[in-house]
Each structure stands twice: as C-alpha cells, then as structure tokens.
C-alpha cells in the first residue's frame, strides 16, 4: 500500500530494527532473572488458588516460604514438582498444607530437576488444556455470533462493586459497546498479591480477582448472545502482579489486557527490573491464550506535552512491538497505545492528530491499535467535551484505529454515569457510520502540513531509539526521556522480589506456550 503520508520505509526499518536490538539486549537481562510474581504465576497455572486463614493468597504463602528459605532461584516448578514426588499430593494440597504449617517443601528430600519436571508435566498440560478450551470458546463465539466492526467501541465500568459493574456493562453492551474494561480500584497495581473472591468495595474501580473476572465473563457472554455480538472483556495485567493476572485472564477468557512495563515504571513507580521480567511471562501467556495486550504510551501525553512528545509515543510503540515479538505475540494481538491529547487551542491541532494516527496505522499495519480519548484538556464543560470527543472519533474512523476507548463528556468530573456512556457510544456510532470510508477517499497534499508532521515525528522517534540503543533502556528511563518522568534502576517498588535464576531453574510453561519459538 502506498503511504498517504509519504513516509520513508527506510526510516521505519531503521527505527524497527533499532527497537529490535534494544528489546533483545533487555531480553538477555530478563532471561537471567525471575521474580516472586512470575513464580506465583507458575503456581496459579498449576491450579493453586484460595487464601489462608488471614486472607493471604496461597500462591503468596508458598512463594514467600520458598523465598525465605533461599529457594527462589530454583523456581516454583522445581519445588512443587519435587514436593509432588515426595508427598504424592497435588499442587493445591501442597499449598494448603504449607498454609497450615504442616509442610516445608524446601526441607524435603531432593529429586533431580529432570524428575521434578517430569512429575509436574501432566499438571502443566492440564493447565494449557484449560486455556485452550477458553480460546476455542472465544473462537466459537466469533465464528457464530460474530463481533462489532472496528474500531471496536471500548468503554469502562468502575463502580467498585462487581455486581453493579455487571449492570453497567450489560447496559453498555446493549447500547453498542464491543469491549468492557473493568477499571481496577486505585492502588491495586501496588499490591504484591491478587485479592481473592468477589468484591463489592473499591475506590475508582473494582478489584481484579479471578472470581470477579468469572462473574463479568459470564455476564458478557449472556449479553453477547442476546445482542448477537461477542463482547470482549478487558482488565489489567499490570502492576506488581502482572503475570499472575495474565494467567487468571487466560483461564477466565479475558480478551484484552493492559500490559506495559514502561507504564508501571513511569507512572506507578514499580521497579524496572522487576516489571520487565514480569512483563515477559505475562506476554508469553497473552500470546498463547489469544488475547490482546494494550500498551500505555497514551499516558506519556498526559504528563508530557502531546505535541512536543509525540515521537516518544512512537519510539515506545516500536519497543513494545519488539518485546511482543520476543514473547511470540502475533501482530493482531498487539494493542499498541496512543492518544488524542493535544491542547485544543493549538492551531491545526486536528491535522496533527490525524497525521499521527494515520502514521501509527501505516507503521503498524496489522496491529490492534488502541486509541485513547482526550483527558488532559477536558474541563468540565461537558458540551465542549462532547465536541472534543467527536473530533477524536473522526480521526479514529479516518485512520482505521482498532480499539476506540470512548471519550466521555464528563471526563474530569466523575467516573461515567449510565447516560454518559450512552451519549458517548451514540457520538462514536454516528461519526463512524457517517464517515465510514473517508480514509480511503481522501489523500493528502504532498509536502503539506499532514505529511510533514508524520515524517517529522518518525524521524524524531528514530533518533530517540538510536539514543536509547546507545545508552540502554534502563538509563534512558533514568534520564526521564519517557513522559518526562525519571525513575532509578534500583528504585521503585518490588526490587526485593527479583532474583537471578540458578542453573537448574525451569519454568515449563514458557517453552510450551511459545510453541518451540524459544
């Protein structure tokens, strides 16, 4: 396809290969390390679930004991496989006994790693089978009842109460939404455990728990069958428990998961070593289960200037793409993020936004681009807000975005009310329908404002990527080049949960999920 923006494919190739080298050098670091959350994920996939008598999740009980005994570098799979050999119990029973103080799995006789791995393999295949069942169920829905047209209408629910969320989510689906994201309660990203069971209390959102996932999945399947459209469910595989939530999401058929180490580092002050290691396993799981990940580049534009920092978004998208390639994720599953966040007072701002949105589409032609609405310059003037969202919707249909996170006219006032969501879906549906083929009809003036803007942003992104390659990603983040936020390599939360693997370490899920790709 000819570039409407006259982008130089040589520059795109230069930026992409540079990002590939950056990701590969990070991967060397990632491959040498594991984390408490990565190991808890192994347990969750092996079926360990539930809490002890003080509400500590069993995966935490087990991993904390292993870590305290200095066994983390060997990995949970070895310890559980060995305990299965020595006790004849299932992983869940082993965890329960550990919680009751009846078993210390690091004090048992030690089988060889090979024996432990063989012992655990049936459990591993059972877990993969459960995930495959969910993937097949999604496929079946898509082949029978079908799905909405792209850009998918993506709305959030955030009541704090999962049962209230269900009411709002089903209403939104009936009004036309294609994707429902359940916003998490504020600060869950910093919890080093995943809460358990159904929850009805939260601030600005609802706890991500496996039971809450199950409740919402069932509700969306019901309403999907009713409206004749598969309704996708989104939650957050991010924060301190990134891969655990990916595993829960794979088991409960989440379709979209927000997943971006850079976001956690910059905006939640999570330690960069911890979350980059966690991100790898979570992306392997996401790739395997056929859901989509969403990266959080849009957030750079809320802390940095959306016009000045546009190239940081593109550079980060390139890096996120390459991290995803290393986790064997298909392009269609890459929900790379960007946003419509320029100051509405900028002359020709609409042209720049349009240029950048088309640029993202041309550079990542198959990706499921996630386009985020204006938030920073939403003022409480709901009437103007509705127009800002209309311009955003027009850019989206024009540039062929995949996931349209709908703007709310009441952004900056409160989490959406039922009719806010309706007005927003109506706005997007009207514009998408009314301007459906504008993208294939309109071409741009050679050397005009729109072409030059995209060429400039691409060139700047390429330059930034080469600087990052020179200095390494870690030190780039330390210098505050993304989002204008500086984070030290050893700072932030969660570094104590990272360790170097020993020579006998194994995680049986990674090679199987990657299908021999690694």
């Amino acid at each position: 396809m000819k570039s409407k923006l006259n982008l130089d494919s040589g520059v795109i190739e230069s930026a992409r290969s540079c990002a590939g080298r950056i990701a590969a050098s990070m991967q060397e670091f990632i491959d040498r390390h594991t984390t408490v959350s990565t190991e808890r994920t192994v347990l969750r996939l092996l079926g360990v679930d539930g809490v002890d008598d003080v509400e500590t999740p069993l995966p935490n009980v087990v991993i904390d004991q292993i870590k305290d005994a200095g066994g983390l570098p060997r990995g949970a799979a070895y310890w559980v496989g060995n305990a299965m050999i020595q006790t004849g119990l299932s992983p869940q029973k082993i965890a329960e006994k550990m919680a009751d103080g009846q078993l210390d799995i690091t004090k048992l006789p030690l089988a060889s790693p090979k024996e432990a791995e063989e012992k655990i393999m049936p459990e591993v295949h059972a877990a993969l089978g459960k995930i495959k069942e969910q993937t097949a169920k999604r496929e079946n829905y898509l082949n029978t009842i079908g799905e909405g047209r792209k850009p998918y209408l993506y709305v959030i629910v955030a009541t704090g109460n999962i049962y209230e969320d269900v009411v709002q989510a089903q209403a939104a689906a009936r009004q036309g939404a294609d994707i429902i994201a359940v916003i998490r309660t504020t600060a869950q990203s910093l919890l080093d455990y995943v809460p358990y069971g159904p929850t009805t209390e939260g601030f600005g959102g609802t706890y991500a728990t496996q039971e809450n996932f199950r409740i919402m999945r069932k509700a969306l399947d019901e309403v999907g069958e009713e409206v004749g459209r598969y309704i996708r469910l989104c939650n957050y595989s991010s924060g301190m428990c990134m891969p655990e939530i990916a595993a829960m999401g794979a088991l409960e058929r989440l379709d979209v998961m927000l997943n971006d180490a850079l976001y956690g580092i910059l905006f939640r002050d999570i330690n960069m070593q911890r979350t980059l290691v966690d991100q790898f396993f979570s992306r392997v799981i996401i790739g395997y289960c056929g859901s989509m990940f969403n990266s959080g580049e849009d957030n750079y534009l809320t802390t940095d200037d959306a016009y000045e920092a546009a190239h940081t978004v593109l550079a980060s998208q390139f890096i996120n793409e390459q991290f995803a390639v290393l986790a064997n994720i298909k392009e269609e599953q890459m929900g790379l993020g960007h946003a419509f966040e320029m100051d509405p007072d900028i002359e020709n701002g609409f042209l720049y936004e349009l240029s950048q949105a088309i640029m993202a589409r041309e550079i990542f032609p198959k990706a499921s681009l996630k386009y985020m609405p204006p938030t920073k310059f939403m003022t409480g003037n709901i009437f103007k807000g509705q127009i800002q969202d209309a311009l955003f919707n027009l850019v989206s249909v024009w540039s062929g975005q995949s996931l349209q996170l709908l703007g709310m006219l009441t952004e900056a006032i409160h989490t959406p009310h039922m009719h806010d969501r309706y007005l927003s879906i109506e706005n997007a549906s009207y514009i998408f329908n009314n301007a459906r083929d504008i993208g294939s009809e309109v071409e741009f003036r050679e050397g005009g404002i729109i072409q030059r803007r995209a060429q400039h942003v691409l060139a700047e992104a390429d330059k930034l990527l080469h600087e990052i390659e020179e200095e390494s990603l870690f030190s780039t983040i330390e210098q505050g080049k993304f989002g204008g936020v500086k984070r030290p390599r050893d700072g932030g939360k969660g570094l104590e949960g990272v360790c170097v693997k020993d020579d006998e370490y194994f995680n049986p899920f990674i090679p199987l999920m990657m299908g021999g790709a690694k």
Partner: protein
C-alpha cells in the same frame, strides 16, 4: 424617563436566564431507573416540578436498557437567590506572576523557599500536582520548578502521608502541597484529615504552610479540614506560589 428595552436584574431575587430576564430557564439531564414510556416521561416531569421547575418539558427521552430511561428536561425555575448577601471564603492574596514571585523572594525572603508536594494516599493521579509543580506546568502556566528562588520537590503519586511528612522534615520545607484527584466515596476527606492529624502529632502543623488542591477542593473545605488554603480548578502555580510566599512573610517565617 425612557423605559429600558430589557428588564434589569434584581440582585436580591436572581433567577436563571434563558433569553428573557427572569424566565428561569434551566436544562437537566438525568436517568431514571424505570422503563422507557409515557409513564417514565411523566415521572421525569413530576420530579422536575418537585425540584422547583415550572412547566417541565421532556424534550428527549431514550431507552437506556431494560429498566432505565435517559431524559433531557427543560423547566422554569421558581426559586430565587439573594446575590447581595452571599459571602464566599476565598484565598485572599494578590496574585503575582512567576517573575514577580521571584522578585518577591529576593526582596522579602532573601533565601530559597522549599516546597514539597505529592498526590497522597491511594491516589494514583499526578495530573494535579504535576500541573502545579513540574517545569512544564499546565496550559501555559509554568510550574513551581521553574520559579526562581523556589526549590520544588514533587514526590509523585500514591505517597503515604507519613512519607510526605518525613520528606518535608528532611528538607526543611516551608510549605507542603497535597493533591487529591480521586474523590469517590469521600476518600480525599479521610486522607486530607489524616494528614493534618499526623502533622499535629508531630508538632509540625504550625511550622509549615499546608495547602491542598484538586478539582473538587474549595478553599472553604480546605479551611474546614485544617489547611491554610485550598485550590480548585482553574488555579495554577502562580496562585499557589503567591499564597505561600505571602504567608511566609506574614508569619515571619523568613
């Protein structure tokens, strides 16, 4: 005396204005948890009348979902307000711009002023504190980091009150800025109150200028909670800086 073409406003009896003085015109938008239909529209009208709107007119209604209906309603407000007796608690300070603030420090304080800020508690939003403190500021209003004579330390989001106080102690802060964006279930009130209690327990409350800000914060609320000032929407770094610097001089914290 010639008659004026338009009625003049009576400030002791103010009513909403649509296109004619005292027409009382207001528009409302809301959802009722009842199924769409004539009964639903009647319910919306009855509600509007109870709210003091004469001649309520349901100009639009829409089925939201089984059991919910959205309305746009117009009506003429019966109530009036005596504007002449209104008193609002406001931050009373002459606002200086960034350069004037720098000069004010040179002339009156003669040392660097230290300001520590954070979005505290569980609040993950940095947009407010960044707008006030970061170099770039917001919408053309540079943040405190760019002010000459001010050392601005932005600790970011989700900072426990205790940590913010520790930092303030360590750097000898003149002022502490607390940002609160999430206000669901009044979590900001609990958090702001807790901050004041901790400072009092530490014996620090009188030694610092304590300021809070956020889209739902008013000066009146701030004072009720024990803060020296509160800054809501449409206030920028210069407002906060002018207040803090003037307070430093007024309190003799030089």
């Amino acid at each position: 005396m010639t008659q004026t073409a338009v009625a003049k406003v009576d400030l002791t009896n103010v009513k909403p204005y649509g296109d004619t003085m005292n027409d009382g015109m207001m528009e409302l938008a809301f959802t009722l948890p009842v199924p769409h239909g004539e009964e639903a529209s009647e319910a919306a009208k009855i509600l509007a009348r109870k709210m003091g709107l004469d001649e309520p007119n349901v100009v639009y209604s829409k089925d939201m979902d089984s059991g919910f209906t959205f309305f746009v309603v117009y009506g003429k407000c019966q109530h009036t307000v005596d504007y002449t007796t209104i008193k609002v608690t406001k931050v009373e300070v002459d606002v200086m711009d960034r350069l004037e603030c720098g000069q004010y420090i040179k002339d009156n304080i003669k040392r660097d002023v230290v300001i520590v800020g954070a979005s505290t508690g569980t609040d993950a939003h940095t947009v407010g504190i960044d707008a006030i403190m970061n170099m770039k500021g917001f919408h053309g209003h540079f943040g405190l980091e760019r002010y000459e004579g001010i050392e601005a330390i932005n600790m970011g989001s989700q900072v426990p009150n205790e940590v913010l106080i520790e930092k303030a102690k360590a750097v000898g802060a003149d002022a502490i800025l607390v940002s609160q964006t999430v206000t669901q279930k009044d979590v900001h009130i609990q958090n702001l109150t807790n901050m004041v209690e901790l400072l009092e327990a530490e014996g620090m409350r009188d030694k610092v200028i304590l300021v809070c800000g956020g889209p739902r914060i008013s000066h009146e609320l701030a004072q009720e909670l024990g803060y020296d000032a509160g800054f809501g929407s449409h206030t920028y770094a210069e407002h906060v800086a002018s207040f803090v610097l003037t307070e430093i001089v007024n309190r003799g914290m030089i």
